[in-house]
Symmetry: C2
Subunit: 506 residues, 2 copies
């Protein structure tokens, strides 16, 4: 009897699901109905300049967002940070005991108007590609009756990251009208300083930990895999920085008088840097890659990513790659050690015949969950000491100059750590189910992205899984002039969010 009841309840719930969970066809028809509404929202929000260097610009954006939430009967509150606030919006489902926390950012990169091929980077423009591959403006009114997935809307933040937020509002509006609201509660965090490195976010997450409580975090930012297939990204590398300075004579000296006598800081720096990596680009400091292993299953997932390595290498103009992993996807599973800048005295027409006083290298280290940055820094420090350098945290005094044969100043900073959610976690399975329903194909699954996003503070403070759902085209000129979003991606983005919002969680 008990078994029968169980079966009955199971059937009821299954039937319930099949009735309320919209299929790919239904999601597509709803998207067709609402995408123009979505573009009006996008046009409206990109009109508001959003360079966080100017707080007054951000204030106008916050006001617009607050009004949107209020119009939709969401609550919202500003989480004060001592600077530009963070906006937390909520829609409680009284029947739900699960909550999803969505992350968007509303600020954008600065614009250099002279480099945009349109009068105003904050005024959306519709373009199509002509026979020569050039983007030509066409009347935006054509969207009232026409649609071409390859057309694009050009304006700052269309992709990064106002576009995804406008998609979300559109998906929400459609689902409310279709009576298909999610069976879970929603929180949304809007970051207004992401392009500035979210300097106040980590502390705010700790300060407002209780308000942010949720079960899963979904990051709505970043581009899809280069193949432009629906994508899920389960993590992002973290980032730490290091600056190394070596010392020669106190002031630059005539290279005739002191070449062969005063030690050259650029040679010292070259020797130190060269000792850190082998010819194949692998860090030669013992232990640097410790703890990184893939199961056969993980290897298969990495291999399933449809990267065309030959195309990537041709595009970059590189005849070989660093040998850290066997493939591009494998390479980003490891921490990196990258010289991002280097300088000593002058070059080119400014070059002078001197022994320089200093040489400096800026390094960045992309972190993975296995590589605690403190551990990496400690490995690097002991490696440097083994090269017989005295490590200082300041420019050497006269006394230190005379005392230590080789000196390096080491400055370091951990910007934020990596995060990575298990693909096998319930959150992962739940998202794959939603994505599969929306597109009837498996999404591209990225175990960890090479770049860094400030999400680890949430993951660490709230102790929840976090997954990124990128929607925009990868050639969107993010961070550059002529940022854009492909219409096909805009529509599929709405469809993606609808499928996530209608995926049963409770």
């Amino acid at each position: 009897m008990k078994k029968l009841i169980s079966l009955f309840l199971f059937l009821i719930s299954s039937i319930g699901f099949s009735q309320t969970v919209p299929s790919k066809e239904i999601l597509e028809s709803w998207t067709d109905e609402y995408w123009q509404h979505g573009l009006s929202l996008l046009e409206e929000i990109v009109k508001i300049p959003n360079d966080a260097v100017y707080p007054e610009q951000i204030e106008a954006n916050i006001n617009w967002c607050e009004e949107q939430f209020s119009n939709r009967n969401w609550s919202s509150e500003r989480l004060e940070t001592g600077g530009i606030p963070i906006l937390l919006a909520q829609k409680v489902n009284p029947n739900a005991n699960k909550t999803i926390l969505f992350y968007f950012h509303i600020d954008g990169q600065a614009v250099d108007r002279s480099k945009w091929n349109q009068p105003d980077p904050y005024q959306a423009v519709l373009k199509e590609r002509d026979a020569n591959g050039e983007w030509k403006t066409i009347e935006i009114e054509r969207l009232e009756n026409e649609y071409n997935p390859e057309w694009r809307i050009f304006a700052r933040s269309t992709s990064d990251d106002k576009g995804p937020f406008a998609m979300f509002l559109t998906a929400w509006d459609a689902l409310v009208e279709k009576n298909s609201e999610p069976d879970y509660s929603i929180k949304i965090i809007l970051d207004f300083e992401e392009e500035q490195g979210s300097p106040r976010l980590p502390k705010a997450v700790l300060d407002y930990k209780d308000k942010l409580e949720a079960d899963i975090m979904l990051i709505m930012d970043g581009p899809r895999h280069i193949s432009n297939q629906p994508t899920l990204t389960y993590g992002a590398r973290g980032i730490a920085e290091m600056t190394l300075t070596t010392y020669g004579p106190r002031l630059p000296q005539h290279s005739g008088h002191f070449g062969n006598y005063a030690p050259n800081p650029a040679f010292l720096l070259a020797q130190l840097l060269a000792s850190m990596k082998d010819e194949n680009g692998r860090v030669s400091i013992p232990g640097y890659y410790d703890g990184i292993e893939f199961t056969e299953k993980e290897k298969a997932i990495l291999e399933a990513v449809p990267d065309d390595e030959q195309t990537i290498q041709t595009r970059l103009g590189i005849g070989r790659t660093d040998q850290v992993g066997n493939t591009y996807q494998e390479s980003i599973q490891y921490p990196s050690l990258n010289i991002r800048g280097m300088e000593s005295a002058w070059v080119g027409p400014e070059a002078r015949t001197i022994v320089p006083a200093t040489a400096l290298a800026e390094l960045d280290i992309r972190l993975v969950p296995e590589s605690d940055p403190e551990r990496l820094f400690s490995l690097i420090r002991s490696h440097i000491e083994k090269q017989r350098f005295q490590i200082l945290d300041h420019d050497p005094s006269d006394e230190e100059r005379m005392k230590y044969p080789k000196i390096v100043k080491l400055e370091s900073k951990i910007s934020y750590q990596a995060f990575r959610t298990s693909m096998e976690s319930p959150a992962g399975e739940w998202l794959r189910s939603a994505m599969y329903r929306a597109f009837e194909e498996e999404p591209v699954q990225i175990r960890i992205s090479g770049g860094s996003i400030p999400i680890s503070p949430f993951v660490d403070a709230l102790n929840i899984p976090a997954v990124t759902i990128p929607t925009v085209n990868s050639d969107n000129n993010q961070h550059s002039p002529n940022e854009n979003i492909r219409l096909g991606n805009y529509k599929e983005g709405i469809q993606t969010i609808m499928s996530v919002l209608t995926e049963p969680l409770n």
Copy 2:
């Protein structure tokens, strides 16, 4: 009988010499008589701005010099070079069969007026040091009745190199009035583009080889040994330059997306440079130092130079020196390999999280007579090839990028070669005899100077010994604001030139 006549002639000539060759005391008294005249000449010539970037400034200087020679019944002619000419002046002694060629340069370094502690860098100012070590202006008229060897005249080119030319004219004027003209003919070459690297000089020397013919060349430029004792310098290192560029991705790439994948050009450059020198600053390319050996006598001469190495190191702020030679003097007997500048992408506040597209090092190589620069370049090239770099003379094409795993662009230039006159040569002995007579002490003898001067074209084309007679104080701020000459050096410089001009040569 023949022997007796020889003896008689020898005695006559010896007596003749002892009568006409002035002693230290006589030279000092003549100097005391003429140094104020000398300072008027100096004040007059430094008044004419002499930055060779402006040919009209140089024209005024040439005119002044031509007038000086003409007033003294010297012939002079402009040797045309296609640009700023060289001035050749001559005073033929009809009884002489030997000729000495003097070299001076009349152009000066550019001036940044804002950094000079006087209203006009071309208006000579007299200064004395106050109790705090600061230079304070005093009335130049005081020189009419007063003399203090520590006082200094401040103005551009007082030391480098109009000062020595004014000393020469002064010495000449005194000797003519004292009926003590040299027993040899004199040629003077005035270079008006030395601070520009004398770009037209090497060709002009070849073009006018016959006119320049002489037996000894004396270079009247540069500072005395730091001890400020009378100095003779028997040569100067030459100089060659090399620029190395390594390549990463065609354009800078996001270090998150491509750190561990796109080879980093700064690491490649560091590895290449590190392979060229050991930890002690010695070039590790086999053969680089070949052919350099000192006899015991030469070693003794190097050791006799009164360098205080501890003082030099403290002044430079270095706790150790490169181990190329055992002493400072030994170190400059070898060719150098110096990184004078290095650059890759951006550092400091400009630093971006990228894999740079290129990295570049500027090197200079100081040459010694044993190190033919073509041989050194060839050693360096084969060393680079052994590091498995493909050497190009241009930025790589797309095809070359894909073909060669490691590429370096190598650009090189030989500015001019070294020269070194044997200290044991007759010219060396003749000069030491003159210097000893002037000061009754042995001069400091520098086998070769670390820095470079454009003299090898003369030495090579005319096949004559060349020696530098530096006269000015080493702390003269040459090439910097507030250039000056110490009065004691100005007087001793006149005395030095008198002794050389009165030293019997025929």
